[in-house]
Symmetry: C2
Subunit: 249 residues, 2 copies
DNA sequence: CGTGAACTTGATATGCCTCAATACGAGTGG
DNA sequence: CCACTCGTATTGAGGCATATCAAGTTCACG
């Protein structure tokens, strides 16, 4: 599980932050962050282990991160996914140990900022503070929505929701019929995200495909064929969901 | 579902903030909050509906709040529970509409603070800002932990976790054998919290009782008889969990 | 003593998991 | 170019955990 996977085709994306959470052309807050604490990691590497002493804050420049927790039997739940432009504070109430494990879903580049520096930055840069606040808020909204489906929804509803969420976020807000996008996760990982086994994730995707809701060009390259149907299964209204889960620009 | 339930026996708790999240003797930040925006509500009332325009921040003085979301078929998931001393910002990324519905589990008294005032307070009172930050962090930790069990755990594991969490939080950190405490929720509500049907919640509690893990003095009056067993099922270490999910004092 | 809400218990249904076998596709080495 | 291999996706069969439906029971309150 912890081995270095070979860099995937998708990892060398031509435009690293063209599909960021904020659809921006430059890394966020590059002036204050870029040169000081910049880190890069390969797809598949683990940045931070559950229970480990946590360093501080992350600002993701490019790539996708998974925030996960595991049970003793090895079953894993991906609690959230961080996209380019996203912020991450993987620290629990005690300000010290991390509650989660962070894994790079693709090659990533990010800034790792010690707590002290981060506090100072927040004071000095109100725009950063506002962005961080919006990011936290969006994360809570997303998690609430996913919790609802994890607890009380069918497999269909949570998969549909995840597909909508990731499309909305990865394309910076676009969610329309015929829209093609890529989810840089295996079905196993998407299953961990949706609280499903990889097998059932596969079956669910197949069913969507048979019902002409979804087209799968290649593994994990999605095309939404019937947005109304997908939105209905997910029980969402795309523009409303967008406002709730992607931070305002 | 939305009717005013009669005030329950448990609602008139003798010491309103004796079992607060921070185990404090006075309402938190009473000097700045108490007189200005104080509100009281009866058990069972709904403070804020999903999708409604959201007012601002809440600081809970006494009583318990449930933060919930519902599916179209009426099934509900309680996403988090707020205890005395807790903060709540039920607003999504767009800073405007609420993503959740808030229900009073008991009679409650709280401060409802408009966004502008709240921002100002945070600037003026670093201690409040710190407390608010800690509260958000703790909430994220709790939600992550519950998401893991919602997605990948058994009914036993999430019920055990919820029992531990609510004991830890409501007693301000205590979690030990023979500890008696009260959860002011029906089994239906606890089921909504754990992603289970009321019937299965009942059966699970019965099983814990038969296995001498739990004693149920009266409905929802819990006594933990075998903490090691309960902690093992929940897959937690009580002191560690405490640090992660209850904000530092 | 009647009423209604919560809780309890039983019977049945089903959605999802697990195990297991197979197919596919990309990279590797001959 | 082909054979090999390893990760990933697919498909089938069977089992189990949890939901649902349906009767009770208990208890607080009027």
């Amino acid at each position: 599980m912890n081995h270095q996977r070979p860099c995937r085709e998708d990892a060398r994306d031509p435009a690293p932050w063209s599909n960021g959470a904020q659809a921006i052309g430059v890394p966020p807050f590059a002036d204050v962050l870029a040169d000081t604490h910049r880190v890069m990691r390969r797809a598949g590497s683990t940045l931070k282990l559950e229970g480990e002493v946590a360093g501080g804050h992350y600002v993701l420049f490019s790539g996708w991160l998974a925030v996960a927790k595991s049970m003793l039997d090895g079953h894993r739940q991906i609690v959230d996914v961080v996209l380019p432009g996203g912020f991450l504070d993987a620290v629990s109430a005690d300000l010290c140990t991390s509650v989660v494990e962070i894994e790079a879903l693709t090659d990533v580049s990010y800034a790792a900022i010690p707590r002290q520096d981060w506090q100072r930055l927040l004071r000095e840069r109100p725009d950063l503070a506002r962005a961080s606040d919006g990011s936290v808020r969006a994360a809570m909204s997303r998690m609430s929505a996913r919790m609802l489906r994890l607890g009380k929804g069918s497999a269909d509803s949570i998969v549909a929701f995840a597909l909508c969420e990731l499309c909305l976020r990865s394309t910076g807000g676009g969610l329309s019929e015929g829209w093609a996008y890529h989810i840089p996760m295996t079905q196993q990982q998407l299953g961990d995200f949706c609280g499903l086994s990889a097998v059932h994730m596969c079956r669910t995707l197949q069913r969507f495909r048979r019902d002409d809701i979804l087209e799968l060009r290649a593994p994990m390259r999605m095309v939404i064929r019937d947005l109304p149907a997908l939105a209905a299964i997910a029980e969402i209204d795309p523009p409303v969901l967008r406002q709730q889960i992607v931070p305002a620009a």
